[in-house]
């Protein structure tokens, strides 16, 4: 049996022994004068000051030194190292794999400290021929150390482990443990799983059993009745009031505990200022969507935080987001010569409804179109109209080449002959005369390319019914080689074809939108279809207001960061993470992908230019907030043979509940002894002072 100390740094406190030595060596002059009957004799004795003195009051001195020693020893947390009893199980050489859960949920209360202590004990008590590996895991697992029999190496590796922010997954950790044990030449294998046993990390379907003769020990550091309130999601709705954009923030609050929460305060902060708050009641195991009052959005990106709850897992009690103003998508609808006033009625009405993005529509006759009409446009719709000629046509070509979207609607007024030769190549194919299917009651759409981004949302059931639309007439269209057919009629003819021109996209609808050649315009699916096509052509992407921790952001795709540089090779970025640490990203050396490892706000800016910067918000995976616990018996039973599982679980409980505490409990006795000694010292000291003459 020997000793070691869990907190040896406190041994520095031994220097405090100098205090009683100094006190007992120093003859401090009393503040009160000693009243004495007569100085008749003292006057005759020569007065001598003395610097070096001998120690006085040996008993008090010994008591004080002993008290200091015991206090220092108690704070250093002595650990009994036994080589008997339960340690007998370690006699046979084994390959030990310590699986240490470092997922975010381990931050609950003191779970992480207890887990590290358990790992420290296991790694510090290896047998003579044992070998151990420290594996840390969260969503993925990695070996924090090479297999080693040297506790010092393993404990040094343990000291370098930090708590993570990712979710729990046992599978990769157990798989890695299996590989290490299988490669080992030791006769026995042992996996020590130290975790809060979170249910969310356990997937029985992907569990692989550990090799034979492997003992599984589970150290459960979780709490029996964990209580946690978290913000698991958020939605930001945009609107306009008085010409100014405003947002309505809704957050989803979840109570993962077993008891209801009353008057839970939820608040919304914008740029650090609390702008709204709500009090909500949350039943046990329930969720609640809290919606805050609309808040006007300034003309720049702002950071916001929703906060709710105050519990032992604080990181999921806040939810960060960054919201930026969104300019409307400006659309120009070009009508053919001689078109009626309501020729583009259905298009205009459909585009007037959208909020996100908002569409700003302008309709012009092709004959009155000017070059400036194409300025600041995202999409031009040639609604059954031929393209303009001359300079305006050239401007249209330039517009598409530079990334603009062109929707070409081929109706009854758009004969092929109406297109000028120099612009016909904008269309991804050749189109011809109309196909009349009115006699057979019209055709239907027989094929839709649901893999296309614009049509993807219609893939799921009840997400848009195209089958009810009847197409009585449409134009023949022969797509070019690079043209992508997005939809076909039931006779195989092309209904929707997409091509690209320069940086822009061109999409062709082979039937009109004026409710004459088809009745698609009066079908419910028309509105979302037009929205999707226009959004696709404009290159609109819904701005991401927040990211998941563990996600990756391509910084080179952020226009705010790449503005003003001709080449990405010239770009240098400074990234400040939520903890305030900065690092510089250089093109020649680093990837442009930013891995979001921490919850909070990341600030990314160009080197030397504070204005070219973006804020990125990262939030934890809400699944990690659910602290429900897996049945350890079930877990052990799925991984090892029953006899190993039973023994393992029992031993694990003994380790955490009794041995671990028992071997560390010596400090209690030391502290009690120190208190007793200090009590005796107080009594003796007071008595000595009381008995001292002249007091």
């Amino acid at each position: 049996m020997g000793f070691s100390f869990l907190a040896p740094v406190f041994l520095l406190g031994l220097a405090a022994i100098a205090i009683p030595i100094w006190i007992h060596l120093t003859h401090r002059e009393r503040r009160d004068a000693v009243r004495f009957p007569s100085l008749m004799f003292l006057r005759e004795v020569p007065f001598k000051t003395v610097r070096r003195q001998r120690i006085r009051h040996w008993l008090l001195f010994a008591l004080r030194v002993a008290a200091v020693l015991l206090l220092v020893a108690a704070f250093a947390r002595p650990l009994l190292e036994r080589s008997d009893g339960s340690a007998a199980a370690f006699v046979q050489a084994r390959e030990l794999v310590v699986l240490l859960d470092r997922s975010h949920s381990m931050a609950y209360a003191d779970n992480w400290d207890r887990a590290v202590e358990a790992a420290r004990w296991a790694l510090g008590n290896l047998g003579a021929d044992d070998r151990a590996t420290l594996v840390t895991f969260a969503e993925d697992a990695e070996a924090a150390s090479q297999p080693s029999g040297d506790p010092a190496v393993l404990l040094a590796a343990l000291d370098g482990v930090e708590l993570g922010t990712e979710t729990t997954r046992y599978g990769p950790a157990l798989q890695l443990a299996r590989e290490i044990i299988e490669r080992s030449d030791r006769p026995r294998g042992e996996a020590l799983l130290i975790s809060d046993m979170q249910q969310v990390g356990w997937d029985p379907a992907n569990a692989s059993r550990l090799p034979g003769r492997t003992r599984l020990r589970l150290v459960d550091v979780g709490r029996g009745e964990a209580f946690n309130v978290a913000i698991t999601g958020m939605n930001i709705a945009r609107g306009r009031r008085g010409g100014r954009e405003e947002i309505v923030v809704s957050a989803v609050l979840a109570n993962f505990g077993g008891r209801p929460v009353a008057d839970l305060s939820a608040s919304l902060e914008i740029e650090g200022e609390r702008v709204a708050s709500r009090e909500v009641d949350l039943d046990a195991g329930s969720t609640f969507a809290v919606t805050f009052e609309p808040h006007p959005l300034p003309g720049r990106p702002v950071r916001g935080i929703v906060r709710a709850g105050d519990d032992a897992l604080p990181l999921d009690n806040s939810f960060q987001f960054v919201v930026a103003p969104e300019p409307p998508v400006r659309i120009l609808i070009v009508e053919p010569r001689g078109a009626g006033a309501d020729y583009a009625l259905y298009l205009e009405r459909a585009l007037a409804i959208s909020r996100r993005p908002a569409f700003e529509v302008q309709t012009e006759r092709v004959t009155s179109l000017t070059e400036s009409d194409l300025d600041d446009r995202s999409v031009v719709v040639l609604n059954d109209a031929p393209p303009p000629g001359g300079a305006v046509g050239a401007r249209l070509r330039e517009f598409v080449e530079e990334g603009g979207g062109l929707l070409v609607v081929l109706g009854r007024r758009a004969p092929p002959g109406g297109w000028p030769e120099d612009l016909i190549d904008l269309v991804p194919g050749d189109f011809g005369g109309p196909v009349d299917r009115a006699a057979e009651g019209g055709g239907t759409l027989g094929y839709l390319d649901y893999d296309h981004p614009a049509l993807e949302i219609f893939n799921t059931p009840r997400s848009g019914d195209f089958s009810t639309a009847r197409f009585y007439r449409y134009r023949r269209f022969q797509p070019a080689e690079d043209g992508r057919v997005l939809a076909r009629f039931d006779d195989g003819a092309e209904a929707m074809v997409e091509g690209s021109y320069g940086e822009g996209r061109v999409l062709v609808l082979t039937s009109g939108t004026e409710n004459f050649w088809n009745d698609l315009t009066i079908q419910p699916v028309f509105l979302p279809l037009i929205h999707q096509l226009v959004k696709h052509l404009s290159g609109y992407r819904e701005a991401t207001t927040w990211h998941r921790v563990g996600g990756v952001v391509d910084l080179s795709a952020k226009a705010e960061l790449t503005a003003g540089v001709s080449s990405l090779d010239e770009l240098e970025l400074v990234i400040e993470n939520p903890r305030g640490r900065e690092r510089v990203l250089r093109p020649a050396r680093d990837s442009w992908y930013l891995n979001l490892e921490l919850p909070g706000f990341y600030h990314v800016r160009q080197v030397g230019d504070e204005d070219r910067a973006v804020w990125l918000a990262a939030n934890l995976d809400p699944s990690e907030s659910d602290l429900s616990r897996v049945d350890v018996q079930e877990l052990a039973g799925a991984l090892v043979a029953p006899e190993e599982a039973d023994a393992g679980v029992a031993e694990a409980r003994a380790l955490s509940a009794e041995e671990q505490e028992g071997r560390q409990s010596l400090w209690w006795y030391l502290l009690a002894a120190a208190c007793a000694i200090l009590l005796i010292e107080t009594v003796l000291s007071n008595r000595a002072r009381r008995l001292a003459p002249g007091t």
Binding site: V34, F36, P37, L39, R43, F47, R690, A692, P693
Partner: protein
């Protein structure tokens, strides 16, 4: 073991009534020492002597005449009716205690016990409290025990002490041969003390000097360096007890030795008490002296 053996000064200090205190000490002391040869004064038989013309024939012991056919006269111990005066030093230096009784309290108890005991012997008792001068004086009288005890009871420490002047005045005030018990800490030069006591001795008084000191004054057990303040003058000097203790002890031991030598040389009895000693010792000292004077033929 006698009762008086248990009369610790600390215990006596709890008795408020001075007469009761004195009686407790004296009665216990007498009971414990009833075989003492110093008792049986007054009418006790002492010895025979041959009859001489002029003797009272009633004192002839006829039994002795019957056996020896010679006249012998019985000799009896007679009542003494001596004066007993306590001279009590109540200077500020007496008001010192290192934890137990103060020297002044001890001296008060001692004076009360001696006075009470003397009254039991039918002596006339008196009291003189002195400091720089005589503070209070109760002339010896057979009826003054109560006054003496009352005077002792209301003693308050006075200012500085000085034995010479008040003792000279006491010597002038005493008209009859007396037993004079001087109780003081004797913080004066031994020659001065001896000279002052000699004034009383030279006038035919039987003088006993009780020096009362605290144990701390004898052993100087202080530890911490401090300013020491003189109780009488208020003067302060720095003292490092650890370094000055031995020299102090030598000086006070020399002082005591000089006092003892000079007083005994002048046939003055000298006794030293520290305040932790029982009062019995003082009574022993007194009685041994009283016995010498009481044998009056």
């Amino acid at each position: 073991m006698t009762v008086s053996s248990f009369l610790d000064p600390q215990v006596l200090a709890r008795i408020d009534n001075l007469e009761l205190l004195a009686r407790t000490v004296v009665d216990g002391f007498i009971n414990g020492l009833h075989r003492s040869p110093y008792l049986g004064l007054s009418v006790d038989f002492a010895e025979h002597r041959p009859y001489m013309p002029g003797d009272d024939i009633r004192k002839i012991d006829w039994r002795v005449f019957g056996r020896t056919d010679r006249y012998y006269v019985k000799q009896f111990e007679a009542d003494t009716n001596a004066n007993f005066l306590v001279v009590l030093d109540i200077s500020r230096s007496m008001d010192f205690s290192s934890g137990g009784l103060s020297k002044l309290d001890y001296a008060r108890y001692l004076a009360a016990c001696l006075s009470y005991f003397s009254r039991q012997q039918r002596d006339r008792v008196g009291l003189a409290t002195i400091a720089e001068d005589i503070v209070d004086y109760v002339p010896p009288s057979a009826k003054h025990l109560d006054i003496v005890l009352h005077a002792i009871d209301r003693i308050e420490p006075a200012a500085q002490g000085n034995l010479s002047v008040p003792l000279l005045k006491v010597a002038e005030a005493i008209k009859r041969r007396s037993i004079v018990a001087i109780i003081s800490d004797l913080y004066d030069e031994p020659e001065n003390v001896a000279r002052s006591a000699s004034v009383l001795e030279n006038k035919g008084n039987d003088v006993i000097v009780f020096q009362v000191l605290d144990k701390a004054e004898l052993e100087f057990p202080f530890d911490e360096p401090a300013q020491f303040e003189d109780l009488e003058s208020g003067e302060r000097i720095p003292v490092v007890p650890e370094r000055q203790r031995e020299a102090y002890r030598e000086l006070i031991d020399g002082h005591i030795a000089d006092l003892s030598h000079l007083l005994v040389e002048r046939r003055i009895d000298y006794y030293l008490f520290d305040t932790s000693q029982p009062l019995d010792y003082a009574l022993f000292s007194y009685l041994s002296r009283r016995e010498k004077l009481s044998r009056v033929r």
